[in-house]
Each structure stands twice: as structure tokens, then as C-alpha cells.
């Protein structure tokens, strides 16, 4: 019972906080689950918040995570192929007049990068490895 009371109190606090933030003219922190752009990305999905990204949110994310888009890169033909595959095998309906703008968005902001036959090692996080076997993080 005590934990339930804490939970209800917590809910109350959350509601008050959210309302306080959303009525503030210059909120210091964004309210949760409301569309917002942070570092050029849509805060709810991670999609690049340019062009027709709202069409992508509306048409693609009912079935799968935005991460399936943001981790992929393809040409216009490549994205169109994926859409057709989803229509043929996964139950995606015809996108109608939205198909063109959606494919344009994907091909513009998630275009392939030429990495050749073997990309260089990237995102290496350097750390000190001592002979004794200990490890510690280091900026280099």
C-alpha cells in the first residue's frame, strides 16, 4: 500500500511538472512525448527533421521503429525497392500521392556513402591498457 501511495504521489508530481513545463514561455527542458527538434533530429524518432519527415512518421512508423530507417542508407531506387518489398510481403498499403515525397526524403537524407571495399576503423574509444591488465578511459 505504501508503494502504491508513492506511485500515486509520483504520478501527481509528473503531471504537475509536465504542466509547469508546457505552460512556461521558455521551458528549460522539453516536455516528454511532444514533437521537438534537437540537434536537427526529431526528438521522438531520431529522424532528420527536414523536408517531409512528418510524412515518414505518419506512414512508416505504425509498423516498425524509426531505427530501421535511420540505420539504413540507400539510393532512391533502393528505398523504393524496400517500400515495394514491404507492400508485397509485409502488408504495407499503397502510399498514394505520399510515395514520391517519402522516397525523396529518404533518398535525400539517408543517401549511401561510398566506403569502398573496406571502410576504415571508426568510432574507436581510446583507453589506457596497463601491463597489469587494468583499463581506464582516456581522451586522446
Amino acid at each position: 500500500m505504501r508503494s502504491l501511495r508513492h506511485f500515486l504521489l509520483l504520478l501527481f508530481l509528473v503531471v504537475v511538472l509536465v504542466q509547469a513545463c508546457s505552460t512556461d514561455e521558455a521551458p528549460s527542458a522539453p516536455p516528454p512525448r511532444r514533437e521537438n527538434i534537437v540537434d536537427g533530429l526529431d526528438s521522438l524518432t531520431g529522424l532528420i527533421a527536414q523536408g517531409d519527415y512528418r510524412l515518414v512518421k505518419g506512414n512508416c512508423l505504425a509498423c516498425h521503429s524509426a531505427k530501421l530507417i535511420t540505420q539504413n542508407r540507400a539510393t532512391r531506387e533502393g528505398w523504393l525497392d524496400m517500400i515495394h518489398w514491404m507492400q508485397e510481403t509485409q502488408g504495407l498499403p499503397d502510399l498514394g500521392k505520399n510515395e514520391g515525397p517519402i522516397v525523396d526524403y529518404l533518398a535525400t537524407y539517408y543517401a549511401p556513402e561510398e566506403t569502398g571495399r573496406r571502410p576504415p576503423l571508426d568510432s574507436v574509444e581510446w583507453y589506457i591498457l596497463s601491463a597489469a591488465g587494468g583499463q581506464s578511459s582516456a581522451e586522446r
Binding site: Q71, G91, E125
Partner: protein, 401 residues
């Protein structure tokens, strides 16, 4: 690609939740996705996708000889059953298909009671492991190196169960599985994935219907309470939340057996080529591969020029006969010590002691060779539309200062 870390603090709108520690277990904050998307998994797994759930393991977390249940990657095509069965012993497995005279149903309790138990250490690797490096890029989850693991599995032989169902050896060509995961679209009639293996593979000693991983019930995300295991093939043939096995009189034609799914061009093609469906062939044995699991990439050696390295090597058939390492971009190679596999399809462990000649930046490359003389390539192997079978050598970066 940004690295997504699962370690996070309970915050709302950037503020800490004051009574977070008193939040009852399993209760989420209203409207906030604080629920762990990977229950039971190590917090440092990299989430590639959260619907469906797909997560891979950084190489250094795979250093254990037997992969811990919390470190085995997750590759789900659909949505895992919402809740584990209340009574797993009543879980039913149906054996059916053209090459079975009458469908037979076994409960999990009956499988355990009726058939001999076997335990093997079996490597599971996603066919798309390494897809991230392909150029032109291939669509799908962009796995780097971590869609592989080698836990110990306990169950019964598929062969014993098929024999108990009186399957017809003359008619049987393939087996296909069905599981209880659900399609992303929510359509209950849509099959998420239903793949399988040729009958010869199905009848091998190591092809199991398994309920335990490392002596414990399977993790929910990895198929609890029952799954198929046919090691050496892409892990997608090892169906999870297993509910039916069809013994087919033809090559199984279930979901993701056709098109570009888990298939590669029958003849090599140029990168980016268009390939017709009829020119694609089903992937069977996975190629030889290895992974450097110690040290973690990025090590800076400041008080020594000596570095012990270790890792694992595996292949889809036969065994790995040698592993070599290079610190000069493949110009010269030195042999590693290599163990024998615990059993067929278990990965093997390699180790070596490197002496660096001078200060500087190095890459350590590891290259395994199987018992038929096939070695890992240094560059990307044959390009294919969906980016399968990248077994290019693993590389880590080191600085000696």
C-alpha cells in the same frame, strides 16, 4: 551511426524522478518508455532496432568461452509473445507436413520425459552479421560484428522426435518451423518467419529442440520456452517460440525462404548489381570467421610493448584449422594458439602474445582458415543484395605510446 547505450537514469523532462527507487518493479512511468527493451540482457548490448527488437554484442563482451545468456544477441523478425506461458510444461510442439503420416503433438513435458537429453555448445550467427560494411549498402539491420554467440544448449535431438512421429525418410526433403511470435503489422494470420533446413541437416546429432541455455530456461527474447537449433547455418533457421515442425516433401516455402531473404546470388555479381529472384540461392553453411574479443579495441599501451590477444573462431562445417594475426595490414602473419572445439559447431579459442616493434598506431587483424583451406578475406567478400555472409577479417585498433 551513433552508439546507443542502454544505461540511463530515470528522468522526466530532464529532472530526476525523486522516488524512482521506490517505484514498484515492473511499473513504468505514465507515458514514458522506461521499460527495458531487452529484459535479461547486458546493459551494454547495442540496440539496432526496437520494433522488432534487434541488438548486438560488442566484441569484448563476447570474451567468455561459453557465451552468457545475457550476452547472446537478439534478432527478432516479429514481436515476441507478449508474456511467457503460465505453464511451460504444457507448451505444445506439433510435428506435421507432407512427410508425416499423421500430425503428432508433444508437450514440452513429454519431450523432456520421452527422449534422451543432449547438451552441446553451439555457435549461432545471424546470416546478416557484418552487413554494416557492405558498399553499396544493403538494407536491413546494420549488424557490425556482434550477431554471434556460442552458449551451451540442452534439449532433445530433432531426429529422435521426427522418428517418433514416423516421418517418411523417402519423402522427406526439408523441415520448416513455425513459432508463436506475431507479425509487426499486428495481423494474427501473417506468419513472421518460417524457415528451415534440408532433411540431412535436420537429422544431424547436433540439431536440437532445446529448452535450456547454459543450464537455465531460454531467455524470453531468445525463444522461451522452446526453440530449434541447427548450428552452422544462418541463425534464422533456428526458430524461436517453436510450435510446429513441418517435414516437407519439397524445399520449404515458408516466409523468408524466397526472394532476397537469406539468399545470395547463385553466381558472383558486381557490387550493386540487380539480381532476379530465380538467380538467388538459399544460404546453407556459414563461412569461416573469427572475432578478437580481448583486448577491447582502442587500447593504448603506455608501459609495455607486449600485448596478449584472444578470441574465437568458427565455421559452418568441419572445423577451424588455424588462426593467424597480423599487425602490418596483412603483409606478414603470425600463428595463434588454437583450441579444439568442445564439440562440432562449437567455436574454438585462439590466443597469442604480440610484441610491437616500436611506438605508433597499429591494427591487429585476425584471420581464420578452415580445414578445407578456406581463409577469411581481408576485404569484403562477394557483394549480395541483402548483405549476408560478410566474413572479412576482424580488426582492432591499438596505440603504443
Amino acid at each position: 551511426m551513433p552508439y546507443l547505450n542502454r544505461r540511463r537514469f530515470l528522468t522526466v523532462a530532464g529532472l530526476p524522478v525523486v522516488f524512482a527507487a521506490r517505484l514498484p518493479a515492473g511499473i513504468g512511468l505514465l507515458g514514458l518508455e522506461t521499460e527495458d527493451p531487452l529484459p535479461g540482457k547486458h546493459p551494454d548490448l547495442t540496440i539496432l532496432n526496437d520494433r522488432p527488437v534487434n541488438a548486438e554484442t560488442p566484441p569484448h563482451l563476447l570474451d567468455q568461452r561459453i557465451t552468457g545468456a545475457d550476452r547472446l544477441f537478439v534478432r527478432n523478425n516479429g514481436i515476441a509473445p507478449a508474456s511467457p506461458p503460465a505453464d511451460p510444461s504444457a507448451w505444445e510442439l506439433r510435428i506435421a507436413g507432407e512427410a508425416v503420416p499423421e500430425p503428432v503433438v508433444f508437450t514440452l513435458a513429454e519431450l523432456k520425459q520421452r527422449f534422451e537429453h543432449h547438451t552441446y555448445q553451439l555457435t549461432l550467427e545471424c546470416g546478416g552479421n557484418g552487413r554494416k560494411e557492405f558498399s553499396p549498402p544493403a538494407s536491413g539491420n546494420q549488424w557490425s560484428t556482434g550477431a554471434v554467440g556460442c552458449p551451451e544448449w540442452t534439449g532433445v535431438r530433432l531426429r529422435d522426435v521426427l522418428e517418433a512421429a514416423n516421418f517418411d525418410r523417402k519423402k522427406a526433403v526439408y523441415v520448416g518451423y513455425y513459432g508463436r511470435d506475431t507479425h509487426l503489422s499486428g495481423d494474427p494470420d501473417k506468419v513472421v518467419i518460417s524457415r528451415g533446413v534440408p532433411i540431412a541437416k535436420a537429422l544431424e546429432d547436433e540439431t536440437l529442440i532445446a529448452w535450456n541455455m547454459n543450464g537455465q530456461p531460454l531467455p524470453h527474447l531468445n525463444g522461451y520456452p522452446l526453440r530449434l537449433l541447427a548450428s552452422g547455418y544462418p541463425a534464422s533457421v533456428s526458430g524461436k517460440w517453436l510450435s510446429e515442425i513441418a517435414v516437407r516433401d519439397r524445399v520449404h516455402d515458408g516466409e523468408k525462404m524466397g526472394g532476397a531473404s537469406y539468399r545470395v546470388p547463385c553466381k558472383p555479381v558486381a557490387p550493386g548489381a540487380e539480381v532476379d529472384d530465380e538467380d538467388m540461392c538459399i544460404i546453407e553453411e556459414m563461412p569461416v570467421k573469427s572475432l578478437l574479443t580481448s583486448p577491447k579495441t582502442g587500447a593504448i599501451l603506455s608501459d609495455t610493448k607486449t600485448l596478449p590477444i584472444a578470441g574465437h573462431a568458427w565455421c559452418g562445417s568441419g572445423a577451424v584449422s588455424k588462426v593467424d594475426y597480423s599487425i602490418d595490414f596483412g603483409s606478414t602473419w603470425q600463428a595463434c594458439a588454437l583450441t579444439k572445439p568442445a564439440n562440432r559447431y562449437a567455436w574454438q579459442h585462439f590466443s597469442a602474445q604480440i610484441e610491437f616493434p616500436q611506438e605508433g598506431y597499429y591494427e591487429i587483424w585476425a584471420r581464420a582458415t578452415d580445414d578445407q583451406g578456406r581463409a577469411q578475406p581481408m576485404v569484403l567478400p562477394n557483394w549480395n543484395p541483402r548483405g549476408y555472409l560478410n566474413n572479412a577479417c576482424h580488426r582492432i585498433a591499438i596505440k603504443v605510446v
